[in-house]
């Protein structure tokens, strides 16, 4: 994993790792939509190009935001899971949702709504993280070492 950090700034450095247009959406697909397979990420509405997706998955794996695994029940297909580092991007995603709800809607009238914007932020974050951990735990004993 070779990253050319632009500066010593904490904000810039975080963006140097996950500040492209796709990384956060891959984390979203895993965290909120429980997607685990390459073909499921490809099927997302944004239509990521497969070469770009492939390279972002490799990079996210290299910086330990996700893990790539094979299951004993299906040795052909990779399944991707978020690490705690990935799960801890939930607050960033939540803040984007809140900002989007207030400020992006004016430019994008067909944009989705989310009931979570009116709920207690910390609870929404904790619940999303807990649900994902429970989801990922089911694969634990099936992962090929």
């Amino acid at each position: 994993m070779e990253v050319n950090f632009r500066s010593t700034c904490m904000i810039a450095s975080a963006l140097d790792l996950i500040g492209d247009k796709w990384s956060i959406l891959i984390v979203r697909d895993m965290l909120l939509h429980k997607k685990t397979a390459f073909k499921e990420f490809v099927a997302s509405d944004e239509g990521v190009a497969t070469n770009l997706l492939s390279s972002r998955l490799k990079f996210l794996e290299s910086i330990e935001v996700i893990t790539k695994n094979k299951l004993t029940t299906n040795k052909k297909e990779n399944i991707y899971l978020l690490t705690e580092k990935g799960i801890d991007l939930t607050p960033v995603i939540m803040e984007l949702v809140i900002w989007s709800d207030v400020y992006v809607r004016a430019y994008h009238t067909e944009m989705n709504t989310s009931e979570t914007v009116n709920m207690d932020k910390e609870i929404v974050i904790k619940n999303a993280q807990k649900q994902y951990r429970e989801f990922a735990a089911q694969f634990k004993n099936q992962i090929v070492c």
Copy 2:
């Protein structure tokens, strides 16, 4: 302002507006470093190319994250100020700082530290926003309509 939103997702749509590598750093420079001038943004450590900066400033102005103004005391230079929409990106920036502190440092040993990561998040955010509003208010009577 013409944006091709990739989907109806609130997260993707927010990233379609401010999810490039520079927008959040421009907001950071304004919010935390009280920068207002083009040449001050250029001088930031990340070394943004002037054509890229120019195009991002224009775009951020078009989506009302910033305003471009001239002062009665200096009609030559533009001064850029954050709108409330821009100031409301503070929580996103704060969450990036927190994530960075825990997870990016391992890859980037020279990265800065910030005492804010150990403080109450909501207070840090409110203070940063308040300080910026006070800073921006000083220009209010000098802005050429």
